[in-house]
Symmetry: C2
């Protein structure tokens, strides 16, 4: 059975504990939320000594099964004040699985100023080393420093300079297969929690630990072949995601009017064709060089929705350019230029800040009159201020909600303190319900409804129920450590149960997975209630309830009764 490592960062002491047999399936968000709820007092200051940071992988981490190696990072969020799980792809969870680790829990007091640590984990154990040399550098430089110091075979989770300043939208960057810091636990400021404990990096060295091998090779081969066929024969995974990545969503947003345009004050963008999936594909293809229209962010991924965006000379600029970032740093700022968006994205990645909340914060600053919408130079300048930690930079790095409060902006695109991802909730009301009620705050990955069976994304009918289904549905994938994009190719979870049987010789049913998801949502809601959240917080910022999206003519008008029903724990298992 894999183990849980509990590390007291201050002393460097740690315990290892094998997970209990009845916890075998529990991983990813299910495990991180369980640990946070067990260990963290709900009223704790998220950047105080009582918070924890729990890195949790899923039951199939360490295998090369497609989509199986996402890393969940849990703690109390300094951005939302809620329980938080933020997950990413990359190689970190894969190496955790190989090292036989299900979770790394970082506890410890507030770090002293300018004292930084690197945590190194290998088959030889856990070492807490000095990490002061990393402080102040960007994520790209830190990646190279770590690779130089510990060798190419490592994976890592690191913070950037934004986290060092305890900015509340600081991300945790996770290595991709090329050891670039390109996969992000972006939402909720988990990077700031990592910094509050003085951790610059967690480095995993999986030397001498091969990929996890199946107990039943034939069964494994058969099941993985079936999965591969499904992925390769499903248009969404094989054609849309693999060719255009998530940027395919731009055209959908333009159609439905949910694009974030000029700080979410409009829903359609006249320059959408300059930044859509086709434009991205064409640009990357035309430039060649180090660019890639399709790229696997983790070992074994067959979907390959990632990409590498090259500059005009064909050199690596940023990876991946994704829909959320394009939306928030493009139309949301009135910018229709992929090169500018890619540059903004590069700076954000290098300084380790959430692209969604920082893009939204810059949009709010433009709304406040600090610059005109469409002013690319101003947007780049503001992103550089975040990198340089100027006062404006720290404000923007505190997220869209705080930026709006300080600059006196009514139109704050936020729920529970967190910026909306690139979907105007007035034009996709299932997501409005998710933004309003998810324990995570505004987060499309916490219950996406773009594929939900609703009559009309602009209407309120059935949206809360669709959100509930989506919230529980996503939680299944997050708790298995899987990328939920695989869900578009699989008819249900039975094939994953088959794979778990083949790898671990353990019987698992879809019902068990679903029960784990339901329990997790209950646990998270319970934590949040104790942390001070109630029905009054299950809504969007007022502007979105009162002022119409001019391109759809709709406001967020989901009836309170529907939201109350959605928040009824007793109905989660329905």
């Amino acid at each position: 059975m894999p183990k849980i490592i509990t590390l007291h960062v201050g002393t460097g002491k740690y315990q290892e504990e094998q997970i209990a047999d009845d916890q075998f399936l529990t991983g990813g968000r299910a495990l991180s939320s369980q640990l946070v709820a067990q260990i963290v007092p709900p009223e704790a200051d998220a950047l105080g000594p009582d918070n924890i940071l729990a890195f949790c992988c899923g039951v199939l981490a360490g295998t090369t099964i497609t989509n199986a190696n996402r890393i969940s990072v849990g703690g109390k969020s300094p951005l939302t004040g809620t329980i938080k799980e933020s997950n990413a792809g990359g190689t970190f969870a894969y190496h955790m699985g190989r090292l036989g680790i299900r979770s790394i829990i970082c506890e410890g007091p507030l770090a002293e100023k300018d004292v930084w640590k690197v945590i190194h984990i290998s088959t030889k154990g856990v070492k807490v080393e000095d990490g002061t040399d990393l402080a102040g550098s960007g994520c790209y430089d830190k990646s190279e420093m770590l690779t130089k110091r510990f060798g190419k075979g490592i994976s890592f989770a690191i913070i950037g300079p934004v986290a060092e300043q305890l900015m509340r939208t600081a991300a945790i960057a996770v290595s991709d297969p090329q050891n670039r810091p390109s996969r992000f636990c972006g939402r909720g400021g988990m990077g700031a929690v990592m910094a509050s404990k003085g951790i610059q990096a967690i480095v995993l060295d999986p030397s001498d630990t091969p990929p996890v091998q199946p107990q039943d090779k034939e069964r494994f081969k058969a099941a993985s072949r079936t999965i591969a066929e499904l992925v390769n024969n499903t248009p969404q995974t094989a054609k849309v995601f693999r060719k255009y990545g998530t940027a395919a969503m731009i055209d959908v947003g333009q159609g439905l009017g949910f694009l974030p345009v000029n700080n979410f004050t409009r829903g359609r963008f006249e320059q959408s064709e300059q930044i859509n999936g086709q434009a991205l594909y064409d640009t990357i293809s035309a430039r060649g060089g180090e660019g890639k229209t399709s790229h696997a962010c983790m070992p074994g991924c067959l979907v390959k929705c990632s990409n590498i965006y090259p500059d005009k000379e064909g050199k690596y600029l940023v990876s991946p350019l994704e829909y959320e970032t394009i939306g928030l740093m493009g139309p949301n700022l009135g910018i229709g230029d992929l090169d500018v968006i890619a540059e903004l994205n590069y700076i954000a990645n290098d300084c380790g800040v959430d692209t969604v909340d920082s893009g939204a914060a810059i949009g709010v600053a433009m709304q406040a009159g600090l610059a005109e919408f469409g002013d690319s130079a101003a947007a780049l300048s503001m992103m550089k201020e975040i990198r340089q930690s100027t006062i404006l930079g720290k404000l923007l790095g505190s997220g869209a909600e705080t930026t709006a409060k300080v600059l006196g902006v009514y139109q704050a695109p936020t729920a529970k303190g967190q910026a909306f991802p690139a979907y105007d909730p007035r034009a996709m009301k299932g997501l409005a319900a998710t933004y309003a009620t998810s324990p995570m705050g505004a987060d499309h990955t916490a219950g996406h409804t773009i594929r939900s069976a609703v009559d009309d994304h602009h209407g309120f009918k059935g949206q809360a129920a669709a959100s509930r289904l989506a919230q529980v549905g996503t939680l299944q994938w997050d708790s298995l450590g899987f990328c939920y994009f695989l869900g578009t190719a699989l008819p249900d979870l039975s094939l994953l149960c088959e794979i778990i049987k083949a790898i671990h010789d353990k019987e698992v049913t879809p019902a068990q997975i679903r029960a784990m998801a339901v329990e997790t949502l209950k646990t998270e809601r319970d934590f949040n209630r104790k942390a001070g959240f109630g029905p009054a917080h299950d809504r969007l910022n007022e502007y979105f309830h009162k002022v119409k999206n001019p391109d759809t003519g709709t406001v967020c008008d989901i009836p309170t009764a529907d939201i109350t029903d959605l928040m009824d724990d007793n109905k989660l298992a329905d």
Copy 2:
């Protein structure tokens, strides 16, 4: 019966309604909280169209009875998110009483940018006039402009440039008898609410309306003579307040270790004798000129705790220099120089910002390393940035809690988003209970326990109960429109009942007043619960629960059970 005016600021239309007979006694905070609870949806954005601003005076406003003319301003607070009442002395309530007005409710949509109004109220009615000329000026200039425009006989409530920028600690300045903008509804950002509705000033012209006359002159004379004797024979009112003002508290704070020193990280200040009541008295006396060691902020006041602090040439610099301001802008910043504190206070008053929250915010900025504690030039520079609405200024003007969040400071001296006044709650635990549980957030005037019957201000025993008594006790004064300093001279409220009988020929009992206070507290708590506040919010920022005040060796350790008991509505009337 006096009337309630409801003004729709956008259209200029208004209704007048006589208060009901059974509402005769209801004024001040009781009335403002009742109106807010009736009209404002608890979930409303405090700077959105659904909030109101309710100016309410007390039952004896318009008379020249000592301490009877405080003005309560109610609304939902953009700083705390709670229901809010902020009150001040001055002449505004006195003129309301003369004009037969118990409340002026300002409703209306969000103001358009750069569109500003002045509301003029006289016996001829309510007029909404253009106020664009006032925008951008400081409160002192605005006062002169209004006096020039409307004559010397007016009183006013105005906002400063900080409110115009919607900063969440913006105050409302109220005229004193010399028509200086020196009395402040300082806490909770009510100035920003006023600005959100586009109101620069409310001007009251009481021409042809004499002071309210008693129905029974003999009875009135007898009762007021008794009150005057009590005030003049009680050491606290006649000697301490009248000679030293509230600055007398510096020595008490130094003794008990509750002074806010260096962002509340210590409780005693080595330079306390340079800034205490005696130093203030001596400085004002020695300089002479326009300085006054004692000054009445409202007509008829016998306590006269206000003062006028002159510069070195004897010219008026600021009025009054009070304990809270001295504490937050002096020791809290490591500054032991009354002239610097007075200059900081002058700028704060001129730009219309709460001295408590702005002083605390500068302390937090010093904690973050923006300047050294004790650096007067840096403190003045930061206060000027607030005045100039730079980005740093807007951040500081958003209050200590937001400043701490943005600058990554753990030691935020706040509860419910509002900065502590000048009492370290670890060294006066009755106030810790008040900060934690008052519907108003951290506010010493919402339930002061310095005179409570507790064994030890450093111990937790009996503090929650003392806070409850003080919260209800204060609410009685606030709901009568009285300054609660009178309470130190009166044995109970029966003399006020006698005065009410003499003036209005209405029978009122102390029990009725108490019942009004209890009902108000219930109303406020109910609003807050609906607005999303619960037990998790009934605490101080974590630092004060975890880290000892080094000068007292104490943390805030009031048992949860005591706080739960304090928050039990059923026990309020005990």
